[in-house]
Amino acid sequence: MPAPSRRSFLGGLLSGLALAPGTARAAGDERQLLMITAAGGWDVTYAFEPKLGLESIQGPEVDATDAEDDVEAVQTFSGMPVLVNPNRRPAVTSFFERWGHRAAIVNGIWVGAIGHPSCTVRMLTGTPSTHRPDVSVIAGHELVGARPLGSVDFSGFGFAGDLGVTHGVMGSRGQARALIERDAALPRSGGLVPAVLPDATQLAIDDLVRRRAEALRGAVGSHSKSQRQLDDLVESIDRAQALRDRGLPLDRLDVGTEATPDTLGLTLIDLLERNACRTAMMDSSFQWDTHYNTFQQHGNYDNLFADLTLLVDELDTRGLLDRVMVCVVSEMTRTPLINAHGGKDHWPHTSALFIGGGVQGGRVRGATDDYLESLTMDLATGEVDPDGDLLRYDNLAAGILDHLGVDSERWFPGITPFRGLSV
């Protein structure tokens, strides 16, 4: 559902946008989203949903070594039971010790699909449809305000839908930096250096294109789709110009190289702090799809939570933790039992982790049963309720939007939003 054109706002607001280093906008109710995907399917029994002592579920305890501290145990952090292992996943312990009081775990999310693409689109867009935008894009679009972009995506998983005009697909090899900082290591072209016109000339060209677009408006008449295309063209020129004029804090990224997750995370924090965007998405970059060796999950969780600690520490240091909600999702979890190859396969349920940004920490919402199937809950509170409803991907997406200040009914009509994040 595309929003009306913002052209009437852009001229004044973008020109007034300050992206000076170190400037932080007032937090207030302007929540931002930093979404991290653990693409491939994490095994929730390694942290979020301890399932020790069950024949029906084979968790990390199956892989115990002789090391004295290689012990799976349930430890409670701010009231949240979390599975920890000081030997294999010490970073999980460290994270929840520091930030458990600001974190919420949501278990028992019903995904209802079994393949990566189907699950990913459901978890990110809240729908089974690939041509709907994901929640990060929706929130960015609705709440873009004076920012040059509403949402940015470094993950490569995002769904723009019809909202591409406020969305930035940034690339995984510093492409965004190459485009915005024209002098930054632009790859050579066949022996010829690409002609880089002076900025003033390109600005003149941009102006000319805008005028040409207005002339084309007259030619296409009142055709609504054509007018929207022209709106998006002109708005994109404006936003691109704002990106170039003011720059983005992308200097941590090297053009041509894939950034490490921590570097990327810090870049996203820079972007959010400088109000370059309202939402940002990245991938954890670990191989979670462990069909052949389930115990890779140990390392993945340890690395993930090490990165999360770094990022949340940084958010806190910069005074952003009240404003920025970190949401860590995976499109699925893994089967209760180990397969013949020593790995685990796909399971149509999952969990999510939320930190900061107004989330009521120190609580676990939802749960699964002894077969790792989602239990019903009260969607208003997140409490397990046998007479309640399944927390489906659309309820969760609607709940995320509401929490960020977007009217979810507009995007998910008739879907009950999950309200367990703020109660």
Binding site: A160, V165, G168, A176, L192, L197, D232, H291
Partner: protein, 590 residues
Amino acid sequence: MAAPTHRLPRGPVWAMVSLFATMSCGTPGPDEVPSPEASHDDLPVVDQLVRASVALRGLRPSPDDVARVSADPASLTAIIEGYVEEEAFAETLADMHAQQLMLRADTVPKLRLPQVGPMKGFPMGASQPAEQEWPLQLVRHVARNDLPYTEVVTADYTFSNEIIATAYGLPFDPVGPMEPGGWQKVAWHDGRPGAGLLSETSVWRRHVSNGANFNRLRADVIADRLLCDPIGGRDVSIEGSIAVSDPEEVADAVSNQPECVACHQALDPLGGFFWGFKPQIAKASITIAYDSDCGERPVPGWQYSGDVADYCYPLKTYNPEWEGDWADWGLRPPNYYGEPATYLDDLGVLVADDPRFATCTVRRFYSWFAQVHVDDVPFEVVEPLTEAFVDGGWSTRDLALAIVSLPSFRRADEDGLGLLATRPEQYARTVTELTGYRWLGEVDDGECKLCWGEVDLARSALHGYRTVAGSTDDDNILVPTHTTTPMKWLTVTVFAQGAAGHAVAEAREGRLSWLDPSISDDDDARAQIADLFLRVLSAEVDPDAPEVDELLDLFRTAASSDGSDGGSEAAAGWTAVLTALLLDPRMMLH
């Protein structure tokens, strides 16, 4: 007698009401019964030509075509019919299939072919595109020769080039007959049945069968992408007490649990046709194989199907002796939605005979040309197009022509599609054809384990700007963005500047006849600008027109600034003018 008070309309309007009432009560599409009161204004004939040209070829019409259709609008049909006979139409269909089958997935690391053994000489920037384009050669071949589209699932041949022959062992005669691009039509060499795309190694390297998946994902690719039956997208409810990690329990469940049977009754037998393919050939398996001297030394924990030697070049990707191995797992024998069959070529015939294949093909084609999601193609459009497609011998040319000839493509009013965004692939092809410029980049930095060499940055999703500009990456981003975005604008700006600079440089060397970069006189400049309007934008403008004034101003402004290529002021001006034209709304939209 009182005047009748008609509560319901009569006559022709009534007929229209009745007809409207017969349709689904969503917004009637433009290609359904026309609204009785809407305007039927068509786009100007040149705009129709541009739209058809970009849709069919990814290229703008030539000045000659523009002149011809302007002089004789009735020639539009003949010109457009000529477009589908060109190689560029074959490229368009290749782009479509690449996206719909998710083949140009250069962001997927495990698909890369390690540069070991005989593959050491091939940079990744050559080997990866070769592997991605390999199955698309069949699509190009079908389009180029106007073969029935069913050939894409029944062809008993494939194509080869030097890289594919080295990597996969297919025959290749460097001096034998070639198709465009250096590809050669050859027979399969390893006993696999020939069934067009269904037999293609690259397709099944892209879509793997992990663990106990038993080719279900591959079956779903067939169902979803060729039949528009996305089995994998259906809701899944798994009874918790079923040990899904135990293949025997799964085999039992998919045969006996109603919730499982609903999908697996069709999915599993469809997967039964693919057992001859190796489940996957990932980069790591090849590296491990070479580390063991192709099996000369033992490989502890070897977890891949088949012998270690199979994973050394040339890779052995199909084992005919495995075709019946579904039986070892208690699975259903191969069948096609209840119709029993045995081999892959049987499957191809069954797909070709399935009416869903025809309707899905029409939906996919319409989806591509009209830039709508395949789920949103109206039934009322699909059925008549399908009937004509099948009755007409499955010609992709005829189908494409029928689609671009629909009223929705021609109309300027609200019943028309409206302005369409030029896809990054179309933009790149247009710019290259106009200027000769290719946006290449050297992406390796010093010592490289997997060396890419030169990469086409317009086509690459990993290193380049294809996805940043709004196209798919065929890995996770599966739906393109059909509008302009800020990142797309930044991308095309760089591309346009590079192309303009290249064209001016070539012109200064005498290698581009249609541009004289030394022109600085106003009258000559106006004439050249008008010519550029025609050449780039297919627009016939008077040299004294206001739009020419604007570009002349830009020329003067840019010429008086520092030139980008070493000091020629006029050249700088023409670089700016050409950049502006390459960024014109009529280039970005069509």
